[in-house]
């Protein structure tokens, strides 16, 4: 184990050193309201980073600061050794895919995509080939002459992507680009977007309020809450090891257990388990799928102190295909469990979970 650790260390370190976009202590106010309260975030080259947050969390503002549509009040933004926040938007080596696409209505699809090339004074003879390549990349090669108004939402989305990618930006910024599409198209575009990002190797900074989308697409997620970063990490890491109650609830579903810890035992009403956390009040996150029906009956054996058991009355059962979601009333509180579909259940049952699955989280409420 130590051997594998030492082998991985240099690789991890070099990746951490290799920063393309660096956001440092950024503060942004509108009127007197602080929208961003000191954001620091590094993005590695080729990374797919998602800024996830509910509306009003400041995620779009952060993106607009990087794009140059807003000016920050304090802090710095760097890109590969250059100070980005002091450049006007039109000099920044980043491009944006807008939520509402923002295609130029008076220009054809071809001219929309060529717009950035013309602005960058690309050689005239190169333009048709580069536009075609960009449009082919998003499967819109046949629509060059149409005005944007004749395209469907999904098609406009693709053109907007091609237009933003044609100049080969250092970083592509995407502001909820899929939110206007219907569910099916959205899923399809998600996988295409991910494939496209791998293909072009450009760093993507993607803003969304949709946690499933964030988990499906991202290398890393930066969870933003009311202008502060709540947690930054890989999707599995945030899901498996949420640091705060908010992160646990926002990414996936969870049960928050507010407990008193005494002598290595956490106690949330009828639910009791062994823990290494210090004494005092503590909040734990326990994912519904970590709870299962207990078949052993009787108290836990001395050998299995890692397993916690509790009794509760099933007060609701929701069929969800491969699994059932149970709402279990265990006196002090109601917890949710997701178990493999077993048919209708009712009455009082015994449940169990591995105490390692109860993750201690920071909780503003406790």
């Amino acid at each position: 184990m130590t051997a594998s650790n030492t082998q991985q260390m240099p690789a991890a370190a070099s990746r951490a050193n290799e920063t393309l976009l660096s956001i440092r202590s950024v503060v942004k106010r509108f009127e007197n309201r602080e929208v961003l309260r000191g954001i620091s975030l590094d993005v590695a080259p080729g990374e797919f980073l998602t800024i996830l947050g509910e509306s009003g969390s400041g995620k779009t503002t952060l993106l607009r600061l990087v794009a140059g549509f807003e000016q920050l009040d304090s802090g710095e933004i760097w890109i590969a050794g250059d100070r980005l926040d002091r450049m006007p938007a039109y000099r920044r080596p980043v491009n944006t895919v807008f939520q509402s696409y923002a295609l130029f209505p008076h220009l054809s699809v071809f001219e929309n995509v060529a717009y950035g090339l013309r602005a960058a004074r690309a050689p005239k003879s190169d333009i048709p080939a580069r536009v075609k390549q960009a449009l082919d990349m998003v499967k819109m090669g046949e629509f060059t002459k149409s005005p944007p108004a004749r395209l469907s939402g999904g098609q406009q989305q693709r053109v907007a992507l091609a237009r933003a990618l044609v100049n080969r930006p250092r970083v592509l910024l995407l502001d909820e680009p899929l939110s206007a599409l219907d569910a099916n198209l959205r899923r399809q575009m998600q996988s295409e977007l991910k494939a496209l990002q791998r293909e072009v190797g450009i760093t993507f900074v993607f803003v969304t309020h949709d946690q499933e989308e964030a988990m499906a697409l991202s290398d890393r997620i930066a969870l933003l809450r009311a202008g502060r970063l709540e947690q930054v990490g890989e999707p599995r890491e945030i899901y498996g090891r949420p640091q705060t109650a908010y992160a646990a609830q926002f990414i996936g579903q969870t049960n928050l257990l507010r407990t008193q810890v005494h002598d290595g035992v956490a106690c949330a009403g009828a639910i009791v388990w062994r823990t290494f956390e210090p004494a005092g009040t503590a909040t734990f996150s326990l994912r519904p799928e970590c709870i299962s029906l207990s078949h052993s009956g009787g108290p836990p054996q001395s050998g299995e102190i890692a397993t916690a058991r509790f009794r509760g009355r099933i007060c609701a059962q929701t069929f969800a295909g491969a699994s059932d979601v149970l709402e279990i009333d265990c006196g002090s509180q109601v917890v949710r469990a997701r178990i493999p579909a077993v048919g209708p259940l009712s009455g009082e049952r015994e449940f169990e979970f591995s105490s390692a699955d109860a993750i201690r989280v920071r909780d503003a409420g406790s």
């Binding site: 039109y90 980043v94 491009n95 509402s100 130029f104 209505p105 008076h106 960058a120 237009r163 100049n167």
Partner: protein, 287 residues
């Protein structure tokens, strides 16, 4: 068509009859009369003879005064249009894109001349431009000129100046409206793709505001072409416009048939202009 029943017969009658009546009484009937008159003639004793002939129209080409005055009117209208655009567009652009606070106040300041009576504004220019007017007094006070400059007043120049002042708000309004409708994220997208503010103006904002420019230009041109008060107040003999002739023919000269013939020609010109600008405007509107 089930939704046809949403509106009752009474409601439909109530909303369609008044405008139809209006159009009939105030447009169709007068134009029909005008049309008839233009083919009639008048005796030396100023009696109208209901004899159908084309003499009035032939006379418009035979007598060189009419084309001369018409072309002068169009030149004046062209000059006013150009000046109104040059004044109105920058103001509209500045107000729409670069004013955040007190936008309404500035907007009202531009519009306020519209609330003042036309005659007041006309007479104001008369007092400013006259030989003992404000401008001449000022120039002599500064010893730039020794004697009053006569050509300020009673010249085509005075007509252009006065009408530019009067009609610039009419040009400003549609331009401002079209600029307000330019989606701001298009401007951001243009900057994002590497276009400087200057390039963005020419490639995005100007083309998208073209319908407003056309509408504003049409306002200024058509209103100037039909104007007869400004030439009367500040134009003098060299500033006479085509509408002054029409007024004289219907009034002092009492030659309604010829007046009607000129009016119909004017009407055709104006309708032609409106048709053309409408076509171009439609081509450049993308909503």
């Amino acid at each position: 068509m089930p939704e046809a029943n949403v509106y009752s017969r009474t409601y439909k009658t109530a909303v369609t009859v008044p405008p139809l009546l209006w159009v009939t009484v105030f447009l169709l009937v007068p134009y029909a009369l005008l049309f008839c008159y233009s083919f009639w003639s008048v005796t030396p004793a100023r009696e109208i003879v209901h004899l159908w002939n084309l003499d009035n129209y032939a006379d418009l080409f035979r007598n060189s005064m009419y084309p001369t005055v018409l072309f002068r009117s169009m030149r004046i209208a062209g000059a006013v249009t150009l000046l109104a655009l040059l004044l109105g567009y920058p103001v509209a652009y500045y107000l729409s894109f670069h004013v955040a606070e007190r936008k309404d106040l500035l907007y009202q300041l531009v519009i306020i001349p519209l609330w003042a009576s036309y005659l007041v504004r006309g007479y104001a220019w008369k007092t400013i431009l006259g030989s003992d007017g404000v401008l001449n007094g000022f120039l002599q006070y500064l010893h730039i000129t020794r004697h009053p400059v006569e050509f300020f007043l009673y010249s085509p120049f005075a007509v252009v100046l006065t009408l530019t002042h009067i009609y610039t708000p009419f040009t400003f309004l549609p331009i401002y409206a079209s600029l307000e409708h330019v989606p701001r994220n298009l401007v951001e997208a243009s900057h994002d793709l590497g276009s400087s503010p200057w390039q963005t103006f020419w490639r995005v904002i100007a083309p998208l505001s073209l319908p407003g420019v056309l509408a504003g230009a049409t306002f200024a041109f058509v209103l100037t072409l039909g104007d007869f008060l400004a030439p009367l107040l500040v134009g003098g003999p060299s500033g006479i416009m085509i509408s002054n002739i029409v007024v004289t023919l219907f009034g002092a000269a009492y030659d309604w048939p010829k007046g009607a013939a000129i009016s119909l020609c004017m009407l055709l010109i104006v309708v032609g202009i409106l048709y053309l600008t409408e076509r171009i405007e439609r081509k450049f509107s993308f909503q």
